[in-house]
């Protein structure tokens, strides 16, 4: 199955892309997707920010199981205001 991943701010600049579609295995969690992306994009490996995870525009935990067509965002520490 496939999910859409959007990148913003520092992560967007790291990855060099604001949106990708990625194949994942049935039952993958959002935490596992992040580990897979770190393998795809070596520049993500040293990232040790406290990321939040958003799926379909809601914050979720690292163990959240993804569904086909989900929109996933790894949220760097926010700094609006």
């Amino acid at each position: 199955m496939k999910v859409k991943v959007k990148f913003f701010a520092a992560l967007r600049e790291c990855v060099g892309s604001s949106e990708i579609t990625r194949e994942i295995g049935e039952g993958s969690t959002v935490g596992e997707l992040w580990e897979a992306l770190q393998r795809d994009y070596p520049k993500l490996t040293p990232v040790n920010m406290a990321l939040l995870y958003a799926v379909n525009r809601d914050y979720v935990n690292t163990g959240h199981v993804l569904q086909d067509e989900d929109e996933v965002v790894f949220v760097p520490p926010v700094s609006g205001g």
């Binding site: 959007k6 913003f8 520092a10 600049e13 920010m49 965002v73 949220v75 700094s79 609006g80 205001g81």
Partner: protein, 149 residues
């Protein structure tokens, strides 16, 4: 009114939105682009948002404020894209029958916004730029590392 926009912010529009004959007080907050941070000269700011989720989270902040205090109306608008020094990056307006509630809810809204709403600020210096909050003095992307940070 909970909105993310690329246009310059108009506080008057928010005031009109929250005005009510039931209200005795309107508290507002404007975040403005400051020409310095941590002792460094800031040239300009740039904001980026996950817009659909940001507007949803702004509304959630407003609802939470309304749940906690007896307020009439709340408006929160955040600008994205480049913001020049002295320009407004975020505008909040809260009306209430009494000033205590207006102040508390307005204060809550900006504090909560800074914790949860997916919006990011980049500070641009003369010799580099940095995404605020993403690292402790160590830029994620070495290409953007300031030369004398």
């Amino acid at each position: 009114m909970f909105r993310v926009t690329e246009k310059s912010l108009d506080l008057h529009e928010l005031i009109v939105f929250v005005s009510s004959p039931m209200a005795g007080a309107i508290a507002t907050f404007l975040g403005t682009a400051r020409n310095h941070n941590s002792g460094r000269r800031v040239i300009s700011l740039e904001y980026e948002a996950y817009p659909e989720m940001a507007e949803r989270e702004l509304a959630r902040v407003g609802e939470e404020a309304r749940r906690r205090w007896d307020v009439e109306r709340i408006a929160i608008v955040h600008r994205i894209g480049p913001v020049q020094i002295s320009e407004v990056s975020v505008a909040i307006a809260v009306s209430a029958a009494h000033r205590h509630e207006a102040f508390e809810a307005c204060r809550f809204a900006i504090e909560e916004l800074k914790k949860t709403v997916p919006i990011w600020k980049k500070e641009v210096f003369e010799d580099g730029e940095i995404w605020i909050g993403t690292q402790s003095e160590r830029p994620l992307n070495p290409a953007t590392e300031p030369k004398n940070g």
